[in-house]
Symmetry: none
């Protein structure tokens, strides 16, 4: 329990106070102005640290980016979190509706917590193979297998229709969720949303489709 980041990655030593401040500053600034829009000396200034100090810990600016972004994936893959998600799926939901709603809530919280890292990841994904690798690895080897397994089980139990490929179902759901999050937190992040109502409608539409019954 001495290490804040329990196992998971090769990151051995806990971060010093200064290092943490650098990461915080970098995250905030990258999120606001993009990786290449921020100069290292600005990060240093905001972190209250000498510019050289940054390069003592991270050899290059890109290393810093990776360090800023990696925790998202470590946390994504952290046993505890995976367990949590798995538990979510494994609970004997009475129907798919409750499940979907629970996942939506769960992700909402996750996104609200990691909003800035997510922004940075999405923005820098196209230009940094290192980041891309982190992301695809995390998705392919950890999330997707679980997701797929869960889905197939639900289909077997007759709780979701069996005449559709899991990847299409997953994609539609993720697409709908993502569209909502994008609108909610990026395009129009005001306070005027009735989140519960939106969730309700999103889930109902996903379940029953847009065709009138």
């Amino acid at each position: 329990m001495k290490q804040p980041e329990p196992a998971g990655a090769g990151e051995a030593k806990p971060l010093t106070d200064k290092q943490q401040r650098v990461l915080d500053a970098a995250l905030e600034m990258f999120a606001e102005r993009g990786y290449s829009g921020v100069a290292t000396n600005e990060i240093a200034k905001r972190a209250g640290v000498a510019e050289g100090t940054i390069f003592k810990t991270w050899k290059t600016k890109k290393d810093l980016l990776v360090a800023v972004v990696a925790p998202l994936f470590f946390r994504l893959l952290a046993p505890r979190l995976l367990e949590e998600v798995r538990a979510l799926f494994l609970r004997p939901w009475p129907d798919a509706e409750s499940l979907l709603r629970a996942v939506l809530l769960n992700r909402t919280e996750f996104i609200r917590e990691h909003q800035r890292v997510l922004k940075v990841v999405l923005q820098e994904l196209p230009f940094h193979p290192e980041v891309r690798t982190l992301a695809t690895d995390a998705i392919k080897t950890r999330l997707w297998p679980d997701l797929r397994a869960t889905w197939e089980r639900l289909q077997a139990e007759g709780k979701v229709r069996a005449d559709a490929a899991p990847h299409v179902i997953a994609r539609n759901i993720i697409g709908a969720f993502a569209a909502w999050f994008l609108v909610r937190y990026v395009v129009d992040p005001g306070d005027h949303w009735n989140d519960a109502d939106e969730h309700e409608q999103i889930v109902r539409l996903l379940l029953d489709g847009i065709r009138p019954r």
Copy 2:
């Protein structure tokens, strides 16, 4: 009908050969490496033009970005295209299914054609107010009103369910489509996809939902 770009914007003069080559080079390179990852002298070299020539036409590099990106929106708003989309919606579809499938096809083509501009727009959106303005203007004042109107008509005709807000329906559909395009053209752009089959499933799920009937 003498000018290739029929009215539309205040841009009066047609582009010279060199200007066109600069735009092409810039588009290609911005798409690959991002706006700030490309130096103007590289663009010049790729376009077979002196660096100074670029700045004769566009005062700054950012002006060049806008020039690269703007045609997408001009074309998006070009009367012909708007007409086409409107016609698509206004045709007396027997059901929503055929409509959705037609729109999906139509957008697929649009995306395949403008793949690179779209990539640039999405990538640079967060950092360039000018680009953001272009995009939000195009969407808010042109696309959304039509979309909303169409949708409300469909609801009135009993062709889609009336107990869901148009914006949620639209968002779910767009989300599903976008997720598909992203996977299809960015994440895994191989040739191994059966596009028709994917379309079929996407549309069916949107229409009928994932709950078994």
Copy 3:
């Protein structure tokens, strides 16, 4: 009488309308922003001429500067003007006072007329040997001999003190005049000056000194 600038320099052909407009534009802009603060394309635009046109007449930008500045010296040396000045000096002035006052008036007019060229000359003198040569030549070979001769005559006639070197007398007078012109036309060019009164005082001080009699 066909040539506006009669003899004097190697300049054979009269200027075309466009050439004159270029010279005018260049003079005005050089005076305002300095030689190196003005781009040739700005001169061209102001003159309503294509940039290339300038270089048809003057091989380089510096040639243009010389062309802008040279007329001052041609005019300075133009027989007519020299005659005028010489006449000024040769007239049988009752005393030095009237002479000084006449010269001051005469120079005032000259400066007001050629204000901008003078400004350009003074500003660019230090950096352009060509301009410096023009100036020193004009002064050494034309003005100074006359000035000196006149002065020595005045001394011989007992109209100015003989126990001072002509060059010191000339320098003091020119210094006082120049200081006045500088303040009057550059430092504080307002309309609140009583020119006649200033002239009166300047001349009296030059003549009688600052020591009370």
Copy 4:
């Protein structure tokens, strides 16, 4: 008394060796070729410093110009110097003659010391409001009040004529001095001058005028 530059301006830290070398190089080159005739990389090379180093201390090239030029005015206004000048004026001179001669000597030394800065200031004055402000401020708020007061006192004591406005007297004197300095140090800076004799004549002419008594 630990800092070589005793208070005076907001400039707190003393200059490092490299900064001083940059200032020296810049001063020398600006004086020779003018502000806009010198490239920053040349200054860097001459100072034996990387080009970037310059911009660490001075944000822009113009800032460097101001830094080069400002010390003149700080020194001009430095308490010690002001005191010195004031003392010069306040000493109970037997007559105005001795005073004028002393001032002339004093200024000669000042000019010989600061020759290059003075040149730069005069050359760049017309084009850089920042420099102009420095100069006019220094003159208006510090030098002129003292000068005027002194002069009026001398008039009251009957040591200089009272029937001439102080500003005209001052202007004539300054003009005569300036003309001399210009000829002596700029136009014809040789060693063949008999400075003492020139001073003698300048002062006598100023005092007694050019009219024979």
